[in-house]
Amino acid sequence: MGLSSSNKLKGQFTTTEFLMIVFVLIFLITLATVIWNTVGKTIGEKTVKNELQSAAIDISDQLLKSQGLPTDWEGTSKIYSLGLVVGDHMIDEGKLRSMLNLPYSQIKSSLGIKTYEFYFKIVNLSGNIIQVDGKNAEVGLKPDTASNIVNSRRIAILNNQIVYADVITWR
């Protein structure tokens, strides 16, 4: 028994339908790829930024709220933790002077910094770097070419003057 022409076509794709399906499929795959890449990139950037922000706040808290460990770390070679103050937010010039003379690698390890870089400076309310014994109150590496930079500007007192303590973390 032979099939009629209408039965032969039943369930078959026409060329137009096939092209439409291919077009829609390509569009959906492209869209999914773009969204996937955007989500991945956004999450990655956000993770790095969060890490740097968290680090900047933690480091500024550590420097401005603790005396360090040992508390007289400026007179010892074994420093477990750095801290710059004698009282809450009262920066001790002696501790600051000692920190300025420490090697960058030692400062990083004393602050628990591993996967990023940091730069620290103390400026007056006009934005000029404070001088300690004729030396700029700044340590660390400046983020000249970094793509991710976070600045945590905190307020403290040095020699009865209100100053800004800038902690910049970058990668």
Binding site: T42, I155, I157, I162
Partner: protein
């Protein structure tokens, strides 16, 4: 007619599902971009300000003009603020109870419109002749302009 009807319904359903998925993805993406550390940082700044103004004895003066000038000098330009200092004094020499001192309270920018503000509080003592004269509570509200 019927063939075309089913095709349209399938398409409409697929488009609705795809739209929901796409909107959901972008909604979650934008949510993930909210700055979670921004508020923490502003809170740190507000507390820093009160601590430093307390340590350098500016708050003790209870001088509105002086405190306002210092706050304007210290706080970053993108932050607005409101300060309220409530002053108490001892009811007797044994200082068992504190009463609010009317006329001593400090109010700076009391009418500013707050937008999602963050509050920092600090209490401090004012001494006179080596005796506690006043006990004060400073409440600083800070928000992004």
């Amino acid at each position: 007619m019927k063939k075309g009807f089913f095709f349209s319904l399938d398409t409409a359903l697929a488009v609705i599902v795809a739209t929901v998925l796409i909107i959901g993805t972008f909604f979650n993406l934008s949510k993930g971009q909210e700055d979670v550390f921004g508020r923490l940082y502003i809170s740190k700044i507000a507390n820093d300000v009160l601590i430093t103004l307390n340590k350098n004895k500016t708050l003790d003066t209870l001088d509105s003009a002086l405190i306002k000038n210092r706050l304007n000098d210290i706080l970053p330009d993108n932050l607005a603020f409101k300060l309220n200092i409530t002053v108490y004094e001892c009811d007797s020499s044994t200082c068992q109870k504190f009463n609010v001192v009317s006329g001593k309270n400090v109010l700076i920018n009391p009418d500013s419109q707050e937008i999602d503000s963050i509050t920092a509080k600090r209490s401090f003592l004012t001494f006179e002749n080596n005796q506690i004269k006043y006990f004060s509570v400073a409440e600083l509200r800070v928000w992004l302009r």
